[in-house]
Symmetry: C2
Subunit: 331 residues, 2 copies
């Protein structure tokens, strides 16, 4: 009897606690996988329409130097996604020993190829090759990753022509926020990490969306206090579960860009993927968060396809779709 | 007798108050005029040395379209400063009615002129002319203002080649901070204003100096609270005495970029110049501040000359001087 009362009490406590948790913090999972799928469906329709009206199939040229396992995986995923929306893709593979001139020549060929509307050089390149020189060789109007000087500058400049393409991971972060109607204008955004591919361009995009952006990096002091001010946190640091729940403002939104493999003997692969944010802790505090995997990753690939479709449109004189960040104003 | 005691008391009160003010807040005035003079002297010596070793005189081409009074004043000041350090300067003046093609042609001529190492197009241009198109026509290695895509992108990108020139007002702000040994690495910097010529590039430069930068603009909420977090405040808003003393963290450093004319019947001109910061209030709180005028203004012109000397050095194969922000690492 006593035991039964104890059980009932425990059960009651559980239900009350659960109800309270729900009331206090109903966290929304920002589903990158589902959102990316919806975007791919939209892009598929656009591709079909361009084919119909202009007889042109968008083409993506992917240049891979060497045989890094992660790069091979990424390239395969990108090709699969391109196939799905009807983008023609063509792979150029060079050995890790290729010279800088070999790589430059391959880029020039893709620049000249009328079937190719977007060129992607899979990074990182082998260390003997000057990455910035290769990226500068890509024609700005085939720059599927938005990494060339002209597109980088157009992104950070106010007014003037919009970039022809925007770095894919940053665009994916902002597109996800926009599709979930997370307000940005006037809000405080804290970006952790300032790399050329993620941190710096996502800060620029958020600022174009009228957020007040603070950019943190490895030299920043008091990072937890800074994160605590943020309505929106973008974590792109590369440190597993670095951002703790106690750092976050209740009700904030978290975009976790990090993809880190940590040892896990319970998994077949011997590891599992975690983000730069401690998901379980954060979920108790914030109002919305991306999972890892299934958050920013799929969005990145969807934005690559979106860039290729946009570049194709520009090449046939069709208006480009609005970029995330309402940069459409710039057109 | 009573009167005398009263006077003595008042005097004593004055001395105690003065001593307290000094003890509590000895504010350092960041003297842009003196610093710019020192920089001009350094540049004068460099110009003489380039003439001696390479037989080349640095040349600045200034293109002015129309006859705005403020623009005429700026152009005159720049020419005078160039003269002082031995930079040859050549003015091209077009009427306000000049067509975009006329302006493009004038820029192309300066691009081709071997006597010219730096080109400055005085902004703003008349509204019928596409500013970004004109700026893009300036050859990146004659881009005295650092406004072209290539130099803008090189400034914001980490790694890769350094910009050939950096926007002058931002460079002046950071150079002044560096010459006064104000620490930036790890510190919080708040930039008010995000224009292409001041706010955005000064934020990029501060970040390259490892500051943690927050960029505010007209849509930012709670600006006073954000300013209160800052170790270094850069105000570039264009609103007279907008930043109040109560917004500032005790001991902070303030760089006031604003130049605003406010009515003042006691002045011969009928107005006086004030910054974007309430100087008297701020001086009670901060540890260092620039005056207006005599702060950022003279530094801006000194940095223009520095850009021209650097571009000349690059053109003859001499190493460029370090840019502010230790971007020298990029060379
Ligand atoms: N989901 C996707 O599609 C996708 C795409 C790209 C990358 N990623 C993942 O995102 C993460 C970041 O990638 P990345 O390419 O940007 O990495 P990265 O190039 O290594 O840059 C990491 C950045 O984090 C900064 N940082 C280091 N410690 C920090 C700290 N304690 N606080 C704040 N910032 C700190 C670094 O600062 P310094 O500049 O001072 O060194 C650097 O700017 C990685 O986990 C990567 O796998 C995911
Ligand atoms: N000392 C020098 O050599 C020098 C050189 C250049 C300029 N200046 C002076 O510096 C000032 C700024 O020049 P500018 O060319 O950058 O001006 P601008 O192009 O008019 O830009 C002003 C910036 O301030 C932002 N802003 C407006 N209200 C704000 C607020 N309440 N809080 C925070 N930011 C706000 C604007 O935001 P939005 O982007 O949202 O509109 C904009 O980005 C002017 O006084 C100018 O005369 C001095």
């Amino acid at each position: 009897m006593l035991a039964r009362v104890g059980t009932m009490r425990a059960r009651a406590r559980f239900y009350v606690a659960a109800a309270l948790t729900t009331a206090i913090n109903a966290v929304q999972i920002l589903d990158g996988r589902a959102t990316a799928k919806a975007i791919r469906a939209e892009l598929g329709a656009e591709v079909a329409s361009i084919q119909k009206t202009h007889g042109v199939t968008p083409g993506l040229g992917v240049l891979l130097v060497g045989d890094r396992r992660d790069s091979l995986t990424y390239v395969r995923m990108k090709r699969k996604a391109a196939d799905e929306v009807g983008i023609f893709s063509s792979d150029v593979t060079l050995p890790a020993s290729a010279s800088e001139d070999d790589v430059l020549e391959a880029v020039s060929k893709l620049n000249a190829d009328p079937q190719i509307h977007g060129i992607l050089v899979q990074l990182p390149l082998p260390s003997h090759i000057d990455e910035s020189r290769i990226l500068e060789t890509i024609s700005p109007n085939k720059d599927a990753d938005g990494f060339c000087y002209e597109n980088v500058a157009r992104l950070v400049l106010r007014g003037g022509p919009r970039p022809l393409a925007t770095a894919c991971t940053p665009a994916g972060c902002v597109e996800l926020l926009q599709r979930y109607d997370i307000p940005l204008a006037g809000k405080r955004a804290v970006v952790l990490g300032r790399s050329n591919v993620v941190g710096a361009p996502v800060a620029a995009l958020l600022q174009q969306c009228d957020a007040t952006v603070t950019l943190c990096h490895s030299a920043s002091e008091n990072v937890p206090d800074i994160v605590r001010e943020a309505d929106v946190v973008i974590a792109a640091v590369g440190k597993p579960e670095y951002v703790r729940g106690s750092w976050l403002k209740p009700g904030a939104t978290v975009i976790d860009v990090g993809i880190n493999a940590v040892d896990d003997a319970t998994k077949k692969a011997g590891y599992r993927l975690v983000g730069d944010v401690h998901f379980d802790e954060a979920s108790q505090v914030v109002s919305a968060i991306t999972p890892v995997p299934g958050g920013v990753g799929p969005m990145t690939i969807a934005m690559l396809l979106s860039n290729v479709v946009n570049l194709t449109k520009a090449s046939v004189g069709l208006p480009m779709a609005p970029l995330p960040g309402r940069l459409a104003d710039k057109v």
